[in-house]
């Protein structure tokens, strides 16, 4: 489904700020895999997702998604295959556009845009149904500007937008980190619901070890631009937070002491 081979990225090469963010990542995901990604700050989790999404050009390696080599495609061209939800609720939606207009943009992801009307009546009916599933009361507010919504509502809407047109791969980059615990739980519940009902292949970065163990069928841990731990199935289900902490200490040593993963 998704195969990363020797994917590398160094930022600010040749300067004092040089930072090797990814050091030859190899990763293979099967269709329907729901993989949680954990690791400390600067471990390369977000960079890995951004490299898959095409935000930065690759330094080395290849990314193959569903048989297509997307390594050299631009960000907007890759969007045809990907659904993305960002950490910042402001980044995933257009604040000055209406809820239905945002959904209409999402419904056209990866399709060529023409001079046909930007949103049709039939679409609006469908959006009412889809929004009702979120259970946030958004189905009656179709023509409200998205800027009026709360962070949690925006994040739930972004999740719906990312999956409105079935993506080959769903990328969730700490998409609940900016939300209060109650809202975060709601968005995670929606995430599980959508991912399992659509059978989506998913990569979810999280700082919460409990969520990382509880959700999905596979867990990978990153440190210093490498994947240091990869566990799936029964073995993953049997994990405890202490196991992950130990694993992390082994790999990262000293660095771990002051990492905010301790708090997760």
């Amino acid at each position: 489904m998704l195969t990363l081979t020797n994917v590398g990225k160094t930022f600010n090469k040749g300067t004092v700020n040089e930072k090797a963010a990814l050091r030859g990542i190899d990763l293979h995901l099967n269709r329907g895999d729901f993989v949680t990604v954990i690791g400390g700050n600067g471990a390369g989790k977000s960079t890995m997702l951004n490299m898959i999404a095409g935000v930065h050009p690759l330094d080395s390696g290849t990314i193959v998604l569903d048989g297509h080599d997307i390594s050299r495609l631009s960000e907007h061209a890759r969007a045809a295959y990907l659904g993305r939800v960002f950490q910042d609720p402001m980044r995933g939606t257009a604040a000055d556009m209406q809820i239905d207009e945002n959904l209409a943009l999402a419904a056209r992801r990866g399709k060529s845009r023409t001079l046909r009307w930007g949103i049709t009546k039939a679409e609006r009916t469908r959006y009412v149904d889809e929004l009702a599933k979120l259970d946030l009361g958004l189905e009656t507010r179709l023509s409200d500007k998205v800027g009026l919504l709360s962070g949690g509502q925006r994040q739930a809407l972004t999740l719906l937008m990312a999956t409105l047109q079935r993506p080959d791969l769903l990328l969730l980059d700490e998409h609940t980190a900016a939300l209060d615990p109650k809202t975060a739980a709601k968005v995670l519940e929606l995430t599980e619901q959508i991912v399992s009902s659509e059978g989506l292949t998913t990569l979810m970065v999280t700082h919460n070890m409990h969520d990382a163990i509880r959700m999905g069928n596979r867990l990978i841990m990153m440190a210093d631009g490498k994947i240091i731990y990869d566990v799936r199935g029964e073995e993953k289900a049997g994990l405890h937070r202490a196991d992950l902490m130990r694993k992390f200490e082994e790999a990262a040593g000293e660095e771990f002491a002051n990492d905010r993963m301790l708090l997760g």
């Binding site: 907007h76 402001m90 995933g92 209409a104 056209r108 992801r109 845009r113 001079l115 046909r116 009307w117």
Partner: protein, 304 residues
């Protein structure tokens, strides 16, 4: 006085077409595109040269002025999106080069059209009403432009363009090629500015190298005035079409204010200072007001 005011209205309507162009970049794309000073003069110069030196039909000359403006917009876009030059600087670079280019096109600093047919003189011959021709024809053009923009920004491509101005990250994640949408926006915007330049040239019967100087400020002032008028109107005109109309109305009001203060004896050269002051005040007032509100809402004890 009435004649002066009628003149101001007709000027305001023609400049209103330029304001629509500025609206696209400033309000929808969130870029202050300084190309427009140059592309307005470019539209006028191209139009005048074609009519006077090449005997081209004035309607075709309008079209040529529009296309010339679009090309100027394309140059700014390439500087901005391909070479990553900040949008303001890219606009300034194009604007400055257009000064020289416009002089090359005309071969001198102004061209009078006195003895030549224009679209306005053609219609006047038919109607016999010289004063109102510019107003009526200007309104026809402005209405067509507002209608066309309203339609375009409702289409899939137009929506993608609005999304680009709103949130570029999100737009790319939605598969929108933001380079392409910016190119369309800048070409469309400067095409309208070029069209306005050509229309202004034909209505005032000359093209001048300095005719576009300060156009961006007039555009911003008109947009700001239009927004204030929109807010003061009962029912608060929020729809996209009414905001476009408000931009044109803002332009008419701007030129009416200008005509009135000039009649009252203000030096014409001070007009640019007044325009800048209008824009600066209109942008500053909401900021100061909000800060004042925040300060006023402070309670020492903490109870809200």
């Amino acid at each position: 006085m009435t004649l002066a005011l009628l003149g101001a209205v007709s000027q305001g309507i023609l400049w209103g077409i330029m304001v629509l162009g500025v609206y696209i970049t400033y309000k929808l794309l969130d870029i202050a595109d300084l190309t427009c000073d140059g592309s307005l003069a470019l539209g006028g110069c191209v139009c005048a040269v074609l009519i006077v030196e090449h005997g081209i039909n004035p309607w075709l000359a309008l079209l040529a002025g529009t296309v010339a403006g679009m090309l100027a917009g394309a140059v700014t876009d390439v500087l901005h999106t391909v070479f990553d030059i900040p949008a303001i600087l890219a606009g300034i670079l194009t604007q400055i080069s257009l000064w020289s280019i416009n002089l090359r096109i005309m071969g001198k600093s102004n061209i009078p059209l006195l003895k030549h047919e224009t679209i306005f003189s053609e219609i006047t011959v038919a109607s016999g009403l010289p004063q109102t021709t510019v107003v009526v024809l200007g309104l026809v053009f402005a209405t067509i432009c507002v209608g066309a923009l309203y339609w375009f920004f409702g289409t899939e491509i137009g929506s993608a363009l609005r999304a680009t101005g709103n949130n570029e990250d999100m737009s790319r994640a939605m598969g929108i090629d933001t380079r392409a949408t910016k190119m369309i926006a800048l070409m469309l915007s400067n095409g309208l500015v070029g069209l306005a330049g050509a229309l202004i040239c034909q209505s005032q019967k000359y093209a001048d190298i300095g005719m576009g100087t300060g156009a961006i400020i007039i555009g911003l002032a008109a947009i700001v005035i239009g927004e204030v008028l929109g807010r003061l109107t009962p029912g608060k005109l929020r729809s996209f079409s009414s905001r476009l109309v408000a931009a044109v109305v803002g332009s008419v009001v701007y030129f009416l204010i200008r005509a009135i203060v000039l009649q009252m004896g203000m030096d014409a050269n001070d007009m640019k200072l007044l325009s800048a002051a209008i824009v600066a005040i209109a942008l500053a007032v909401p900021v100061v007001w909000e800060r004042q509100q925040l300060r006023a809402s402070y309670r020492k004890g903490g109870e809200a």
